[in-house]
Amino acid sequence: MKFSFTEKKDTRSGFGDGLLEAGKQDERIVALCADLTGSLKMGAFQNEFPERFYQTGIAEANMMGLAAGMTIGGKIPFTGTFANFSTGRVYDQIRQSIAYSGKNVKICASHAGLTLGEDGATHQILEDVGMMKMLPHMTVINPCDYNQTKAATLAVAKHEGPVYLRFGRPKWPVFTPEDQTFEIGKAIKMIEGSDVTIFATGHMVWYAIEAEAKLEEMGINAEVINIHTIKPIDREAIIESVKKTGCAVTAEEHQINGGLGESVASVLSRELPAPLEIIGVNDSFGESGKPEELLAKYGLSPEAIVEAAQKVIKRK
């Protein structure tokens, strides 16, 4: 294994710790939360900066409007709630008051995807990346582990413009460096390879790394690229890698419709037609279960990535 981990931590804690640090660095940062302070790990920010923390109650539409309004006084608002209520529930509010209005709001969304687990499909949103990436001027980021989520939160604070920052609930391997810099829109090559490229985002980056190790045992040399920023997508990184490998697999904890795979497909079909396999949830809602069980059941596993890689190499 080219990457290893000594601990597991949730990406939402990376957000919470990043938010606290960002708040120390820049007093313009304010945080709003719709009754999920504990879930979003926003308590540390609330304790440190009570005058800059706004409890909105269970009223997400209002929270989005408040955040848009706060930017007018030069504030940098971070909104916090579950990914489901951060997107679909308030799409029109985000569209009109934030994106179309060009407001510098950071929409921070936890408990995204199947790994929310036992709460089931009502809360396991798998459509949020698609909804957010369709909005003009919206940046969409889905970091892979605790350290990267923390770095992403700090980068987002310095970025001018609306951002959707997506993270998860479960404890997950921490395998990227603590002191990393995070460049929005710049993919990270995790493992160099020549036979196939695996483009992964969010929790699935770790599975891509596990898949690479299995492929190596089979004599297949895979390249692993971490696409933490889904929009704007790093076209150059995609083209450069697929020029070398000639085929690709994408992996994401999201609906295939509207997700990372379609963004990569769009780049490739226009600029470098190449065989592509997309790992994601196939036009389905989720269900209750343990995170790992759900990922396996819905076809999001290192084994599924390995199979897809074998298949796509044959199509070269």
Partner: protein
């Protein structure tokens, strides 16, 4: 000593703004004249007597009063008022709803029309934005006031009541909302479409100070907004329930929802303009 308000001057400007509204909507045969005409006295009062704002436009709005229009479809009256207040040239009103214009059908900020800070048109969002802007003012120790206008029909949107609850809970007392209480919406009288019942009690029960006014009487609306302002910084947000007549004062437009989103034809335009004195020259 408070300066004497020149009501006649404000009325003359209101007459010109109403002429602009009719001509703008007529020129493109689209737009919303009814609510625009009904709220003209309010807009003229706000931008010429009530608010302390800066020209040229300052996007951050720090150190000045802010205005938000939640019911964005009455954009013509706002555009005309902003132009007459010096935010942009009055001649630009001729581009309303035409391609390549900054005067979009509903207010937008993407093309940066001076005077506008947030897009509106999808109803029910303005009070939330205004409450956020008012809280930012508090954080900035900016002792100015945030104003927002809403339609009465849009109070049917749940988000308005989320914002109303929030504003009183967080004691946002530098915020003055006004409801254009004309009792009309697209499908008919509000009491038939979805009755708002007792609005005064509703706002009071949400913890707001309530002012009532006649929005089609310049003297009344100026006094009401000054009174509303005097109630700010006392721990509660303030709402002005402003009675208006849609289409005021055009005799064939007044008091009906039928002119909510319908443009006058050539003959109707002439008839309407005949009822409004030209005071500053048409754009």
């Amino acid at each position: 000593m408070e300066q004497q308000v020149d009501i006649e001057k404000l009325q003359n400007l209101a007459s010109q703004v109403r002429r602009d509204v009719l001509r703008m909507v007529h020129a493109v045969q689209s737009g919303h004249p009814g609510g625009s005409l009904g709220c003209t006295d309010y807009f003229v009062a706000m931008y010429n007597e009530i608010m302390d704002y800066k020209v040229p436009f300052n996007p951050d709005g720090i150190g000045e009063d802010l205005f938000f229009l939640s019911n964005g479809h009455i954009s013509p009256v706002w555009y005309s008022t902003l132009a007459h207040a010096g935010f942009f040239d009055v001649s630009e009103l001729a581009t309303f709803r035409k391609i390549d214009s900054r005067l979009q059908g509903h207010p937008a900020t993407e093309e940066g029309l001076p005077g506008i800070r947030v897009a509106s048109g999808s109803l029910g969002q303005g009070l939330s934005v205004a409450a956020g802007a008012a809280q930012a003012k508090k954080l900035n120790d900016d002792n100015h006031t945030v104003y927002v206008l809403m339609g009465d029909g849009e109070l049917q949107e749940g988000q308005v009541w989320e914002a109303a609850m929030y504003a009183s809970h967080h004691r946002i007392d530098n915020l003055v909302a006004t409801v254009d209480y004309n009792g009309q919406q697209i499908d008919g009288p509000t009491k038939d479409v979805m009755d708002l019942a007792d609005l005064k009690s509703k706002w009071e029960s949400f913890g707001w100070s309530v002012v009532e006014s006649n929005g089609n009487d310049m003297d009344s609306i100026v006094k009401a907004m000054k009174h509303a302002h005097s109630l700010t910084r006392k721990g509660r947000p303030v709402v002005n329930l402003m009675s208006t007549e849609m289409g005021f004062p055009i005799d064939f437009m007044v008091g009906t929802h039928k002119w909510h989103g319908v443009a006058p034809n050539d003959e109707q335009l002439e008839q309407a303009l005949g009822q409004l004195e030209e005071t500053l020259g048409d754009y």
